[in-house]
Subunit: 358 residues, 2 copies
Amino acid sequence: MAIQSLTDVPAATTDLLQSVFAERASTAADIGPGFSDAVSAMSAFVLRGGKRVRPTFAWAGYLAAGPTRSDPERLLTVCAALELVQACALIHDDIIDRSDTRRGFPTIHREFEARHREAGWRGDAADYGEGVAILLGDLALAWADDLVTEAGFDPEIHRAVTGIWRSMRTEVLGGQFLDIATEASGDEASVAAYRVMRFKTAAYTVERPLHLGAAVGGADPDLIESLRSFGTDIGIAFQLRDDLLGVFGDPSITGKPAGDDIIAGKRTALLSAALGTLDATDRRAAEVLRGRVGRPHTAGELAETLAIITDSGAVTAVEQQINDLVTTALTTLNASSATPAAKQDLTGLATAMTRRKY
Amino acid sequence: MAIQSLTDVPAATTDLLQSVFAERASTAADIGPGFSDAVSAMSAFVLRGGKRVRPTFAWAGYLAAGPTRSDPERLLTVCAALELVQACALIHDDIIDRSDTRRGFPTIHREFEARHREAGWRGDAADYGEGVAILLGDLALAWADDLVTEAGFDPEIHRAVTGIWRSMRTEVLGGQFLDIATEASGDEASVAAYRVMRFKTAAYTVERPLHLGAAVGGADPDLIESLRSFGTDIGIAFQLRDDLLGVFGDPSITGKPAGDDIIAGKRTALLSAALGTLDATDRRAAEVLRGRVGRPHTAGELAETLAIITDSGAVTAVEQQINDLVTTALTTLNASSATPAAKQDLTGLATAMTRRKY
């Protein structure tokens, strides 16, 4: 399908992914019929899911450059590759987080655990499910790289794209590592939470996709710099919004229980801000809050935990940070040489991502 | 270091890996100090280990072509990339197999489990170790692909190399999947064991490395066909030898307990041959053997299990298969246009891999 506007990008990406999977189905079948089935499960996971945020930002970066060369098919290949990296990240993250469902379906490791159990196979069903999910995540990552390799860019663009691609993959894996290490160590420093937001979310979700698209569109270094700076700010603001919703979000809208991130023990910037202030102003409240992190709450405890965080001023402070980041990002964007249409699109995306209620 | 003969390839590959890790250390440090430590653990794992079998075959394939163009540095980059794919495969396999040690050191997931425990961190230490190992395996795979992308081949060679690279990664992941699925389902068909040997071992360890080297060396299609055929045969013979050693190997030489593969429930071609024959000739022995697969053995049971397999004729049959495969492989090799020196090297490798006692 031809892409007329940014809103066409998700469906076009899904279409391309569908042909990629169709083309690769016979390779999988040649290796073995059981492998075909497993690959089908991975394909279904990729095809049914997601808002295609990264492809949308990649396309916005491309349009921002007012591309003189027209490389939309090659860019779409990169969009599909971004979604395959994301499939690897989600499949492996779901193992690490012991998640049972994703997008309303069983996670890949749970799905294969169930297949093992239903077939009455030997050995531990959970171990089997996890093993298959590790391998299918690896496969998604390998196929993502194949797509970038085969996209067929001119040598100069190819060099730029693969350089960004290289950085992005290391950054997201580094961010994921820091996320689990920070949670395990109970690191309360805001710099730790910031690094996770910077690399696991901002670079991977906004900055690098924009950067990839801009490079394909032939953006000059100043515009690339502006778009990356915009992307980092919006990406962090997006994560801060997520942190607020993860504690104060309306469960009927977010689909997650109130206080979820506190109960799960996540080391967010919100928690870091609350503890940092309370250590100086109300040590008893700080101790209560600290004792609540990573534990189930009664209804009464939950109300108290939320009140402690709010009263610490952390919510106001984080809302202010979001505002400041969005303001800075939009100022950078508007001062850049991005096309007017792209400025409008990116402003809309920035607002939607940082003002959302879910 | 300059490579004078095949025996120089392992050290040269390790040297290059060392510079790759040194170059990437600062990127890891920029993401976060904790991430640096994790990357160091992955680097140490790669640097201390292995016989560099895949690089050696890649180099042999290159020499077999009597390379007119001289691309040794680029080929060495591919050799380093092969070892990074192997790092991913081993780190992830060790999670899947719940292995505690590898090459005399704790496996990556156990190492990070121990770090978690020693630091007295929150949450489950084993889950943490596994999470880190999943991410470090992913990182090794991503870096492997980066190396191939950045090797700097001419467009034509690059296209050939990336096509083979693409096939190889999907094949090994498919083979690993079939391995765990076959073990879980208890599939006794020899075709199942054959597929695992073909894709998890032969393609990944011998055929595709030879193919990569031959493509870099500019081998013609006939020579490539011969080398791949040689590689498949030797790779399968290598796995069959491994199967025999996994049951009958001398524990003081193999470092594994006698009968290990039977106790672990592996679905090898050896077991498949034994059960297939016994079902027709001695159903009681077949049932006893079937009941022993995947269970601990007393010393008496072990002696009986080994005798049942030997008496079935399966050991003789598998030895015969190894002989036939090696004979066919060497006939193919000698009839090919490979250089005389490469023929000699490959004959030596083939013999060492299929006649070994460990």
